[in-house]
Amino acid sequence: MNYRLLKQDINLKPFMTMPPQFNRKTIVMRTDKVYKCEIINIVELTGLEKLFHLKILDPVEREIFSFRPGQFIMLEVPGFGEVPISVSSSSNNREFIELCIRKSGRTTNMLHRAKKGAKVGIRGPFGTSFPMEEMAGNNVLLIAGGLGLAPLRAPLYWVIERRDEYRDVAVLYGTKEPEQMLFTYQYEEWEKVNHVKLLTIVEKADKDWKGRTGLITELFEEINIDPDNTYVIVCGPPVMFKFVCNHLDSLGIPMNRMFVSLERRMHCGMGKCCRCMVGSTFTCVDGPVFDYWSVLNLQEAI
């Protein structure tokens, strides 16, 4: 007779040897395994932000990876850390993903020094997404402040690629200063080719700025909003979306048709570490996309 405990090795289970599929949340996977990517292009947007094009190297992993607008990935820079970044590209693009990244911390500072051809890792996608199908047949209003345009780019691509399915599409975009405007090289295409109404505004103009000056809510005066047929997505700092959503509420748009993307510190992306908790809710699993009604019901969200 024996008292020896035999080692139970979970490595031997078949799903532990396959590439992890992050859209299946309930099986034990190698959730810390990253998909290795190559930075195939770097676009300098502003002094602080760069757009990175990442191509997943392994063809099987590239095949598995798909995301919905609003979802984020965890971007791993081996040795320096991992950060949550919302995907800025079209979900139809299966060749590479685009990430717009601001330099603000250990990991992103390193990333900004990286050269084309460098290899980084991603895990994901994680989190909830915008209800794009539900919005079909309606007007779509996208409102962004500052870096908030980055997560709005994915739903915008979605709408543009299915332009017939949506009615009026408008983007309201405001920043503090003109030089902080992101993706300016695309504005003309959005307006002329894709029939998107684009209004921009800055809080503080410089000598070259010829557009509007003021707060983002001033843009509301320039568009007609039909409260019964409009879906809104708002991205930006909490003060901004609180202000904007209250205004939309006064126009009669139901709160469950306004969507925001919350930003919190995340360490795991998988509903474990609790760093991203808002009240009793995980931003990473139950968010980052919430309708405004849910946000109002979260303790300490705004």
């Binding site: 820079v77 081996p78 040795g79 320096f80 911390g105 250990r106 500072n109 390193m110 990333l111 020094r113 990286a114 050269k115 084309k116 051809g117 460098a118 290899k119 980084v120």
Partner: protein, 252 residues
């Protein structure tokens, strides 16, 4: 290492000491298991305690000790001019350290006590930061080699340098130590910045706060707790002021 397309370069360092015991410098030669790799990250341009090489072309100056003489101020200013990054290492450099205990008395009194009739020049002790601009402070009496290694790796790779903001208690509990207060001794762990691996409480000796205050340290509550445990106010103050690391924060 040529990672992310970034070529890493050795850090050219100079190591300098002022009023102190040189124990922190000595830590640089410790942790023998990784010492060869550690030295490989550096180009030692000037390090009097272990090397006869004396150059001026250093990027990073590690400065140990406090300032307590006029000629030290001059030497420090020269180093500041040459160094791109000036790092204060150890509690003496960061806060004045135990040397600050001298400042309780008049300098005349101090000189008389030790040298009698012989006049020796000395001045009130100052930390490095009180004399020149300091770019980075690595606290500890002595500094922890693990932390120094981590920081040097960050310097070489060009990554942002981070220190723990939490107090020693976390590290102490993680070692499954018995709380030093439960053993009937006073411990500054709850208000002191972690990063030392709770070395003192792990030996059942109270923390003396050599690493300076943890972020948002709750002094009022701590004082009350120490009084409630039966320690007298002078005894508590003696501990709080020992390295001048918390003392500096208390005065602010």
């Amino acid at each position: 290492m040529k990672y992310l397309g970034i070529e890493t370069e050795k850090v050219r360092i100079g190591v300098f000491d002022f009023t102190g015991c040189e124990g922190c410098e000595l830590q640089l030669a410790n942790k023998e298991g990784t010492l060869v790799s550690f030295l490989d990250l550096l180009e030692v341009v000037n390090f009097r305690e272990i090397s006869s090489e004396r150059g001026d072309n250093y990027d990073v100056a590690l400065v140990e000790g406090a300032i307590s003489r006029d000629n030290e101020i001059e030497r420090l200013k020269q180093i500041r001019e040459k160094a791109k990054v000036l790092v204060a290492i150890g509690s003496c450099a960061c806060f004045g350290g135990v040397n600050y205990l001298k400042n309780r008395f008049s300098m005349e009194n101090v000189v008389n006590e030790v040298y009698g009739e012989h006049k020796v020049e000395t001045r009130r002790v100052q930390s490095i930061g009180e004399v020149v601009k300091v770019d980075l402070e690595i606290p500890g009496c002595p500094v922890s080699k693990e932390e120094v290694e981590r920081i040097v790796v960050d310097l070489v790779t060009g990554a942002d340098i981070k220190f723990p903001k939490y107090p020693v208690c976390i590290e102490c509990r993680q070692k499954l130590n018995t709380c030093v207060f439960d053993l009937g001794k006073i411990c500054l762990g709850p208000i002191t910045r972690a990063g030392c691996g709770a070395v003192c409480p792990s030996s059942k000796v109270g923390c003396l706060g050599c690493r300076g205050p943890a972020e948002d340290a709750n002094y009022d509550s701590f004082r009350q707790i120490a009084l409630d445990h039966g320690f007298t106010a002078p005894r508590i103050e003696e501990k709080l002021k020992f390295f001048n690391a918390l003392g500096a924060a208390l005065q602010k």
